[in-house]
């Protein structure tokens, strides 16, 4: 029993993305953001995308390139505090923004990845975050229905992988990546190093390769991955 080799060229992986697709993007700030895949998606040019990411990076970085290139119609996120440009687009009505409580966004994506229809949560009850949400009573307590999120594509950044797509993340670069890996029909991982099969110990894997469709090894890391001077 031999595991598949899922390595491919970045452009051929990104070519699967279509206008109107929903795209999960890993990362919390810089760590874990697939900067190179995002640049490839800019080059690809797919339009009218729904992007789901914890944040919108900072002006001129990561997801912001997609925003500047007019490829994003809708952004599902938790906090745009570091990207004044994204806030301006939101305020101008150029992009539609849906804010989620951060842990609820994580749970909704995980639910999509776990084949669960929704989770019932009391987070945000009694605030405007609850507005418009279905309410269900269980054992006498009211919960909001937080529906599962699945996407057409997930773009991930890993530190280490193998050709099968087993992934390991560095430090706080893990964040949303393992959840998003589970929740898309096509999962594309850029990785800083592809080790031979068996070199990434089975106990050290953070995302099992069965969730991953394409593995792209990065030839070099651009400036965007570096420590940011603010």
């Amino acid at each position: 029993m031999r595991l598949s080799d899922k390595q491919c060229r970045m452009e051929s992986a990104i070519a699967h993305i279509k206008d109107g697709d929903t795209v999960l993007v890993g990362g919390f700030g810089v760590p874990g953001t697939p900067m190179t895949l995002l640049q490839a998606l800019v080059n690809h040019g797919a339009q009218n995308l729904t992007v789901i990411k914890n944040d919108a990076n900072e002006p001129g970085m990561g997801v912001d390139h997609l925003l500047r290139n007019g490829q994003v119609s809708r952004l599902i996120t938790t906090h745009l505090g570091l990207n004044s440009h994204a806030i301006a687009l939101m305020n101008a009505g150029t992009i539609d923004v849906e804010f989620n409580a951060q842990g609820i966004l994580a749970e909704r994506i995980r639910a999509g990845g776990a084949g669960i229809g929704a989770v019932l949560s009391d987070i945000g009850i009694g605030t405007e975050l609850a507005e418009g949400k279905q309410v269900v009573e269980v054992r006498g307590k009211a919960y909001l229905v937080e529906t599962a999120i699945r996407a057409n594509v997930a773009l991930l950044h890993a530190e280490l992988s193998d050709p099968f797509g087993n992934l390991a993340y560095a430090a706080t670069a893990r964040n949303f990546n393992p959840l998003m890996a589970m929740a898309a029909d096509r999962v594309i991982a850029e990785t800083e190093a592809v080790l031979p099969l068996g070199a990434l110990a089975a106990d050290r894997v953070h995302t099992p390769g069965v969730f991953v469709d394409h593995v792209v090894e990065l030839e070099h890391l651009s400036e965007e991955y570096a420590v940011v001077e603010r």
Partner: protein
Amino acid sequence: MSSASERLLARAAREITPGMVVNLGIGLPTKVVNHVEPDFEVCLHTENGMTGVGRTLPLEHANRNLIDAGGAYVSEVPGSAFFDSATSFAIVRSGRLDLTMLGAFEVAANGDLANWKIPGKFSPGVGGGVELAQKARRVVILTSQVDRAGNPKLKQECSLPLTARACVDRVVTDMAVIDVGPEGFELVELADGITQNEVAEATGAPLIVRQGTLPRF
């Protein structure tokens, strides 16, 4: 093991195509692995938390912490991964399992499966079977054509409690390969030395026969 069982297992192994992620259920399905070439491109999943399941090991080479869902001691292959039970079933329910092979007490002509409970006689619990049956992209049942009393296991309707509804795609038996199609059971292959009539007689529902000469296995 009888040659009929070996023939069934060898035929079942051909259900696995390169690149698949496959879960082999407890019992007969687990033995299919012995009919897969060592270098064949496939990822075996076991629901207790592993992908890249390798061959079963004899006790003297066993790792006390490395078993499959049936409790057999197994090995790793290069690229194996371990994970918790929630992640393991996330793989199943989110559609990443291309194929599961399961045993059956009864299969209905609409694809209903009963394989976990015989009220009053056998009810050890449902384990991971419901999710495998309901959510694997393809469900192939491995079973004898008839039970020990000689009664057909393929029936118009199941009489036992169901594992999952309308989930079975194909049944591989000691006598035949039978698909569950939109109009019911469809005979698509015959075991060597078995006739269409013998299969039809051992099936408790109408059996559609595919046009042309049926392949043998």
